[in-house]
Every structure is written in C-alpha cells, then in structure tokens.
Subunit: 422 residues, 2 copies
C-alpha cells in the first residue's frame, strides 16, 4: 500500500455534467498518488488499512477553480467601484500595478494574496500578475510554497499605458522569454502567456507572443468583449478584424493548439461564439466584476447550452471577493436578471450548473481537474456548515445551497492533488 493512499469520509458532492449534482452521503473518497481512486459507501478490501480522515457530517466538494484573478489588484478590492472599465484601469489598476516594480512591495502584497487564496476554497487559479518579471516569479515562488497549483502570467503591455507601466515591444518579448525560462524551476505552478488585452498590445507584440506560445507550449489568457467602450476601441485599433476575438485568433492565440482562457465574453457576437466553440476557448465568467464595472451580464446559460467551455472567475479587483462561492451566487442572480430583463427564452442558471462552472467547467483547463470521477486530481475542500444556524432540518442538497449562499467561504480542510494544505 502506497503511503500516499488515504481516504476522506463525509458527505461527498460533485458535478460530472452541468445538470447533474451527484451526492454520496457518508461515503469514502479515496486518494491514490494524488488522484481520485473512487467513492465508496464501504471501503473495499484493498483499502481497509488506509488512513481515513473522518469529517463526520461535513461536506466534501471538489476544490474550486478561479479562471480569472488579478493578484496585483488584491490590495484595492472593494474600492473605487463607481467607474467603468477604462476609467477604472487609469485610476485604480495602473497606479497600483506600477508598485510591483519594487520587489519589497511585491513581497508584501503577494504574500497577503497567496495567504488569502490558500485559505479560500480555491485550489487552482489563472492569475494575472503585472509586467514585472521579478515580482511575477516571486508570486509563483510563494504559490509554490503554499501548495496551490496555478497558472501565473507576467502581463504584457506595450501601448496605451501610463509611462511607468509600459514596456517596449522588444523588452516585453525578451522579458517574457526570460520569465518562461526561469519559470521552469517550478513544479506545481506554471506560466501562462498574459497580454493584458488588445488595447495595450501591438500586433508586433502579439506576433512575438504567438511564437513564444508555440516554442514553450504554454497556455494563454487575456480579456475579451467585456465592456462596450472597450469593444469599440478594439474595433478602431484592429480595423481588419470582424470581431474582438480575431484580434487574438489572427495570431493563433485563441484556443485550438493554444489552450486559452478569455475573461468575460459579456458581449461576444455569434461569430465570436462560433469560433470560441470551434476552438475550445475557455470562457471565464466573472459576474461580480461585470456588475461592479457596469459591463453587463454575459449570456452564460446560453454558453453552457451551446456547449462552450465555461468556468467562473472572481476577477479581483473588478470583483471585490476572492470567494468562488460568492461568484456562484452572483452568477445565478445575474442570470435571473438577464432572464427577466434581456432574454426570457433563456432560463436562469441552476445550483448544479453554478457548481459545475466553479469546479469541472474551469478545471478542465488544468486537465482532469474539478470532479471526483476516478482519475481526476484529488483537489478537495471540506466545508463545515455547523456555524450557519437554522431551526430547519436540511437535506444534503439544501446544505450545499446554504454553504454556497451563506458560508464565509473558508474550508475546514483543503487538499490539492492529494497534498493536504490544512
């Protein structure tokens, strides 16, 4: 018996598909070599001697996956929420991000972010850092020490930025290459190409990133069709494209052989959606950010129904909360408003769909992640709902709903790829 074999016992939940909430009351979730071996009501003979962590009546869920979060914006989450995207970038995001040229500040800020992310229910994340290579590597080092398994991106931006936060195209590409090389030291946390978005990236930069993507075989993330003034700006900047996504796809940076996460997709038109689906682009739905920055409500239910790959993002600090449970409730609530105010032919999201997006939907970017089906990474969180008082007896599905709506979002125990973080 390998000593990395063990079991958690409790009430086990997962969503193999968007419509299916599977619940195993009082069962054993077995881990072998960092992967899920199976779920059992009674431990089979070959597992009878493995260590069992008994979580009693607690809830065991797949770790949550945050497909879009800005580590460098954590310091001002919940601030300046009275602006639209472009103004907010100028006033909030850029001045804060410029501080990460100072490695001492970066250490302070990224230590806080890493601590808070580690204490949360999130086990995997796609993270924007800043354009600063040393600070980005420092963040990756901190995540590596925490046990989290994330993608981390050094940001590229070589136009339309304040001087203090702008690279030349050559610098940007040279620093990116060096960062990709230096990132090879990490085993759990990996680099992800991260041009901020089209307005801050020249065609030359994008072409260079495309070469690096092929050479290093790394995934890619950026922003897409978030906010109406932004989309109009991209149209002016890229007169040869039919839709925003082509600003990326013309450089082979839009799914297919380039695993891609596009944040937001609030206003993607039919052509953009068709290409996303064809290429298997992951959509990072960030409902709270889309409210806070007055972007709108993405048609996420339709995305799920048409077979797009969809996960959830906190988008701190466009979103104020790191908790993906909050993102789940935000997504459901926004989908109800969308049904009521925009499109009564498309129903609201359900709780299983929200959990699916927060787990397997985004998890698939990382491989077999986000489910408790055999062979999936053993990413698990244990939620204790005993501090959510009620005088009602709730069944297990109801207890899950209450954890999502009402818990403080912090798990009682957390595992990533079979490793216990706490």
């Amino acid at each position: 018996m390998n000593k990395s074999t063990f079991a958690l016992k409790g009430n086990i939940f997962y969503t193999p598909t968007p419509n299916q909430l599977v619940i195993h009351p009082q069962s054993y979730l077995v881990c072998e070599n960092g992967l899920v071996a199976g779920i059992f009501e009674q431990l089979p003979e070959q597992y009878t001697n493995i260590p069992v962590e008994d979580h009693g009546n607690r809830l065991i869920l797949p770790g949550l996956v945050d497909l879009h979060v800005h580590a460098s914006q954590y310091a001002y989450r919940g601030l300046g929420m009275d602006m639209e995207l472009l103004q907010w970038l100028e006033s909030n995001a850029f001045p804060e991000e410029s501080k990460f040229a100072d490695l001492d500040y970066a250490k302070q800020a990224y230590s806080l972010f890493t601590q808070q992310l580690t204490e949360s229910a999130t086990t995997r994340a796609c993270i924007f850092a800043t354009l600063h290579r040393p600070a980005t590597l420092l963040l990756t080092q901190l995540l590596e020490e925490s046990g989290m398994r994330c993608y981390v991106g050094k940001v590229n931006m070589d136009r339309n930025c304040p001087d203090i936060l702008q690279e030349t195209t050559e610098e940007s590409l040279a620093e990116t290459r060096r960062w990709l090389e230096e990132s090879k030291q990490f085993t759990k946390n990996k680099p992800m190409l991260t041009p901020r978005f089209t307005p801050t990236c020249t065609d030359e930069l994008m072409a260079g990133l495309s070469q690096l993507q092929k050479e290093f075989n790394v995934p890619f993330q950026s922003h897409l069709s978030e906010n109406i003034p932004e989309i109009e700006w991209v149209k002016e900047l890229c007169p040869g494209t039919r839709f925003y996504g082509e600003a990326y796809s013309q450089f082979d940076l839009f799914g297919g052989n380039c695993p891609t996460v596009m944040a937001h997709c609030v206003w993607s038109d039919a052509d953009e959606r068709a290409l996303m689906k064809q290429n298997g682009v992951f959509i990072a739905h960030c409902p709270q950010s889309n409210m806070n920055i007055s972007s709108g409500i993405a048609p996420v239910k339709s995305y799920l129904l048409e077979g797009q790959k969809v996960g959830l993002g906190s988008d701190v600090a466009g979103g104020a909360h790191l908790s993906l449970f909050r993102a789940m409730t935000d997504a459901i609530q926004c989908s109800k408003l969308r049904w009521r105010l925009v499109d009564q032919n498309t129903p609201a999201l359900t709780m299983p769909e929200a959990l699916y997006m927060a787990t397997k939907g985004g998890g698939e970017l990382f491989g077999k992640v986000g489910s408790f089906e055999p062979g999936y990474a053993f990413d698990a969180i244990v939620m204790d709902d005993s501090d959510i008082p009620t005088t009602r007896t709730c069944n297990l599905a109801e207890r899950l709903e209450r954890v999502v709506y009402l818990s403080n979002g912090k798990p009682h125990a957390k595992y990533v790829q079979g490793e216990k973080l706490f």
Copy 2:
C-alpha cells in the same frame, strides 16, 4: 450632568442627504438622553467630564435600518432560490410559516432571529411575523429584551392560502385587535399592520384593517408591484383599480395619515409613483430578493431623484442575507446593471446614496432616526476594519467602502437610542 450623557470617539460618518457623505475624523459623538447632542473635534466645556468610549481608529456609523424582513423565514434563508415569487411562497414560505402555530417552535426560531439581528449592524427594522398572534407577541417580547427598536407585524391573510395558514376575515380582524391591545405592554417595539399582500387579503379584511389603523394610529406595511405574475393577479383580483397601489389606497392604507412601507416597487408605473410621492409612502428596496426571486431591478435611483422616500430591506428569506451592508452593495450593483441593460439615462447609485438609504432614508419612518444630526436618536454602530487586510493606505471614505463591500457585517459595538447593546 445627566448620567445618560456620554460620548463615542472615533471616525464618524453620516449622510444628511443622499448626495452628502459627512466625515468627522477622530471626533466625539455626544449622546444626551438617548439623542445625538452633537459632533465635536474637542469636547466643549459642558461635556469635559462625561464618560468617553474611545474607539481609536474605528468607524462610527448610524445604525442601519431594515425596512423589510420576514422573521419567520429566517430558518430557510439561502434555500430554494430557483423559483419565482408565487411558487416560492407555496413551496417555502407557507409551510415554514405554518410552524409558528406551535409556540415552542416559534420560541426557538424567533430566538435565533432576534440573536442574529441583534448581532448585526441593524438597529431598527420593519418585521413580518406570521398570522399567529401569540408567536408575534413572543417575537416582540424577545426584541424588547434585546434592546432593538422595531415595528413588528402580525400577518393577515384570509384568502388564497393553504388551509393551515388561512384565517377567516372575522378571526383575522379580531386577532389583530387583540394583538394591538396586547402590544401596548411594549415600550421599545411597536405593532405595525401587516396584511401580507393583496392576493391573500379580501376587501372586507382591508376595510377592517383600515378602521383599526385609524383607531390605534399604527403604521402599515405590505408588498407592492414586486413580480410580474403577482401584478397580473392583482389586476384580476381588483378590477376597479388603475394600479396595484390603489388596492391599498382605496382603503386609506397608502401613506398620508397612515405611515406606510411598501416593499419592492420594482414595477410601479407613473401613476403609482405619483401617488407614493404625494402620500410620502416609504419604498423598501430589496435588491437581493428581487434577484433571487427573478423579480427585476427597481428604478431606485429615479425614486431618489424624484424625491420618493426610499430605504433598504434585506427581505430575508427572499434575500439570503440579513446584512444591510450586503443590501447596499446589491443595490449599487443592480443599479449598474439597470443603467447598462434598461435605462442609460439614469446613472448608477453611489456609495453615499446607498448609505443614505440604509440609514436616514429608512430611518425617517421611525422619526428622527438614521443620522447624527443633533436631536436624532443615538443609534450607532462601531465598525472595526482591522481584519480586512490590505497593503494600501486607505482614506476614510475608502475604509467605509471596504467595510460595506468586505466586512462580515458585524459591528464591534452597537447602541440603540443611547442604550448600549454590546
């Protein structure tokens, strides 16, 4: 010097108007006989010997006012959030409310509600109980012991309800009269007439309640124009009315000499709005409930601009959260979506407007409540933001914003009418 004279020291915030956030850094808020005597940078001579509670760098705000909350639904907040209003009433609200015929259950449930409300930042609330007189009096007794100062309503419903939760008209009126008499024992918490809403109340019942309102001179609360199928139903039930509000106003139960809170007003038309304004009806805006039950987004910014009286409601359990800080962020976020998706001529709510609604806007129902202007009730909460970590130095307005978006909603200290609750 009266011994009920004392001061709190700290950073003091209030909103005398929707557009004006007043901040007094490191100042003294003086209480005399339960009322605000003034705010001072240095204590004037007549106060030099009064007790001072020094809250250091903490934030001192007016207590928050919850204009609409169902105490009897607290047990299932965060549950069954996949239904519209009428279905949700049948499946969730009515079965739970029927349990309050049992005074033992009522004691358990209302003790929990009272404890949670007391620990929250809310100092005043307009509360729906159930139709059960003994349980409603018990709730009022519990609130009285807690130090909270609320309006509590025995619910009336004599049609279109499950048998287990329906009164005859005669019973309903007789029990209401008896409840109003018995409520005279309480000094801090007062009764408020509470027909559930038009679909569950006959004209005879409403006429009888109107007589009781005049006889006992008590305020009045109900629901108005919340959800489209509900509004259509009211049209069928009240063929003689031009708009929903007339179902109340035809019985003199819609402001004027009858202080009135109408919950929701999501779909109020121009005539209804004109009458609300003319009669000074208080609108209880409940944004989270309006999302959860798919009702829509009330035009609250327009209500403020046109001079309506507007406060906020948690509407537990249509809303899942008792925190009015959460209601403030929900209100702002929904107003941004409304601007984006419905009406680009009406801008989003600001933080001062949200704080105003949560304090003075709703507080005016209770008299001079919800501000720190001299003569206002000394309702104060002290918020400690030291557990919201950041690497940024925030000014006081920013710290307020972070408390609203990011705190757990529980004050460090709380006063109602000069009485310290904790």
